[in-house]
């Protein structure tokens, strides 16, 4: 909806746009290009850097730690989709039941963890997992299983599970509130008539609520994927990628290589890889969700429409040709 009757002078528009656009380009696009540029150099942060072609990239391809970090990112994504959105969906079904009181309190309390900084969440859970003074081991003690207490943050085998739990905990309420807004948009008449027709709570959830909040679920999943591809601060505070590299994630690895080993050339190369991989995962998941959410009837219909469009276009072409020929 453009304004047609009014057109301010170009000078005025430029004056308004210049500063924010310059800042945006300088902080977003210039670094991107720079990362691509520096990724072809062997550069340790000093004044000298030497061009070494694709050496950084071939090193990256063979870098087991980097690919392990990428797998950890994917692990986080999958676990958080199941944990956060799954649990949030169940809680939404519960909160909508007419027996539940104090909905406002649940909403306010549940949303709270997502408003505090990841550093605080990391600290809180470090205290919970602590061996001697941790809540978790204290609870185990209370339950009479004191001997199964371990140093939770020091077990390479389960460390990814351990660092995922705080992430899940922090954002359940967030997705719960988003889903609630989706469910609130459903016409209550549909649910009531289903209830009268004898649909059980589970049936109602599966066949009515779930399909109707499809779009909200897609939004949540996208947020969840994008959020977990950039996991960084929680893990930095809790384990800093350790023990060893067993809880390393991509952004943290790039940070460590660049600032602790001072290898800025290779760090830039990792940044480029993060850019490509994160975009690929987000784009791929979008495609997959669209594919899963449309069933085969939708797809057949889409195909038919496309076919019809194509035919129409060809007919137009033929017509135009015939006209030209006639002239």
């Amino acid at each position: 909806m453009y304004l047609n009757s009014i057109k301010p002078k170009m000078r005025v528009i430029v004056a308004y746009l210049a500063i924010p656009v310059v800042v945006f380009v300088f902080t977003v696009f210039v670094p991107l290009v720079a990362a691509l540029f520096y990724s072809f150099f062997d550069w340790r942060g000093g004044p000298n850097k030497t061009f070494n072609g694709f050496v950084n990239y071939s090193q990256l391809m063979a870098d087991a730690t980097f690919w392990a970090s990428f797998r950890h990112n994917l692990f986080l994504v999958v676990m958080c989709i199941i944990g956060q959105i799954g649990i949030a969906f169940i809680l939404v079904l519960m909160i909508n039941s007419k027996f539940v009181r104090c909905k406002g309190i649940h909403r306010t309390f549940g949303f709270f963890p997502s408003t505090i900084s990841a550093v605080c969440v990391g600290f809180i859970w470090t205290m919970i997992y602590d061996y001697k003074k941790g809540l978790l081991n204290a609870l185990l003690e209370l339950a009479g299983k004191g001997d199964s207490a371990i140093v939770w943050l020091n077990e390479p085998k389960i460390i990814m599970w351990i660092v995922t739990i705080p992430l899940i905990w922090q954002f359940i309420g967030y997705y719960m509130v988003i889903l609630l807004s989706g469910v609130a948009a459903i016409d209550t008449e549909i649910l009531e008539s289903a209830e009268i027709d004898g649909a059980t709570a589970i049936q109602r959830a599966r066949y009515i609520i779930l399909p109707l909040v499809k779009n909200t679920l897609i939004v949540c999943t996208t947020l969840c994927i994008a959020g977990n591809m950039k996991a960084f601060d929680n893990i930095l505070v809790m384990t800093s990628g350790g023990p060893g590299y067993s809880s390393m994630v991509m952004a943290l690895y790039g940070y460590k290589v660049s600032f602790e080993q001072n290898n800025l050339g290779y760090g830039s190369c990792i940044s480029v890889a993060i850019f490509v991989l994160a975009l690929a995962v987000i784009g791929g998941s979008q495609w997959l969700m669209n594919y899963l959410m449309t069933d085969k009837y939708d797809r057949a219909e889409m195909k038919m429409l496309k076919e019809r469009d194509k035919q129409a276009r060809e007919r137009m072409k033929a017509l135009r040709k015939a006209k030209k020929g006639g002239n």
């Binding site: 009014i6 924010p20 660049s258």
Partner: protein, 291 residues
């Protein structure tokens, strides 16, 4: 007759099932929401204990509540907590002000004015939203140190403005779609300049969405850690998350002290949240869904 009783039994059965479901729901929801605020409560009463008492009993209420921990973290100048809170507050206020202002102006121009650069700029901001910002971590450090602008008081303004601008612009644009152009046209006919219409006619109409944009960004800017970690080196410029980061490793044995530091630095945002929780939740959800 027999049939009737069966029907009655069924409804009764359903009633029982519904009641059980209701009870379970209530219990589960209370466990969930209490687990969300429990750490806050636990940290609060534990911060009133001294270290020795905490080590003896981590769960119990303090027997002799003391403000000793707060006294110690505030009087020790090494921790710099008041300074970091001041820095965070300054950075948050400035960034939010700039984001709201720029998002409003850009969103308005991009959605209402027809000029040659409109589409390219729109696509540029759209791309900005898709870029995984953590891939910019290392290059932004390189560029900023090349330009000599890292570790300054204004350094963080640039990334905070740039990264939060796209979503904010789209929120403003979405809101403007529902507002007729007749207002500006009438104002223009009456001789109001572009700038005057922009700030004294459109801005008041857009107030609800601008408040939403502001709320979302208060939280992101106050809590932002990653870019602060990379771009800020001198302790005098630390923001709150950086100030807290000092406590890892160094004082891990003194939990009550860490807790009081965390509570102290969280307090402004926690109070802000619990006072305005309804609007905040609404705003953040709108931002997440539409952005």
């Amino acid at each position: 007759m027999a049939e009737l009783t069966v029907v009655k039994n069924e409804t009764q059965g359903q009633k029982v099932a519904n009641t059980i479901f209701g009870v379970i729901s209530n219990v589960v929801l209370w466990i969930f929401s209490l687990s969300c605020v429990f750490p806050l409560v636990w940290m609060f009463y534990s911060s009133l204990k001294v270290k020795r008492e905490f080590n003896r009993d981590i769960m119990g209420l303090p027997k002799a509540p003391t403000l000793d921990n707060y006294h110690r973290i505030l009087s020790n100048t090494d921790y710099n907590l008041p300074t970091s809170m001041f820095n965070s507050a300054r950075m948050t206020i400035m960034s939010v002000f700039l984001i709201v202002l720029c998002a409003f102006v850009l969103g308005y121009i991009l959605s209402r004015i027809n000029f040659s650069m409109n589409k390219p700029l729109y696509i540029m901001f759209l791309m900005g939203m898709l870029i995984p910002i953590h891939s910019l971590l290392v290059p932004i450090y390189i560029i900023f140190s090349r330009a000599g602008i890292n570790d300054k008081w204004f350094t963080l303004l640039l990334p905070y403005l740039a990264f939060n601008l796209p979503v904010s612009i789209f929120l403003v644009q979405g809101y403007l779609k529902g507002i007729p152009t007749a207002l500006e046209e009438a104002a223009a006919i009456d001789g109001s300049s572009f700038t005057r219409s922009l700030f004294s006619i459109i801005m008041p109409i857009c107030k609800p969405i601008l408040v939403t944009v502001g709320i979302i960004n208060v939280f992101t800017c106050w809590n932002e850690f990653t870019f602060a970690l990379i771009l800020i080196k001198s302790t005098a410029l630390y923001t709150v998350p950086l100030g807290l980061k000092q406590f890892t490793g160094q004082f891990t044995s003194d939990y009550p002290k860490i807790m009081s530091a965390m509570l102290l630095t969280m307090s402004p945002i926690v109070i802000f949240y619990f006072v305005f929780s309804k609007q905040i939740i609404k705003g953040m959800v709108a931002g997440a869904v539409k952005g």
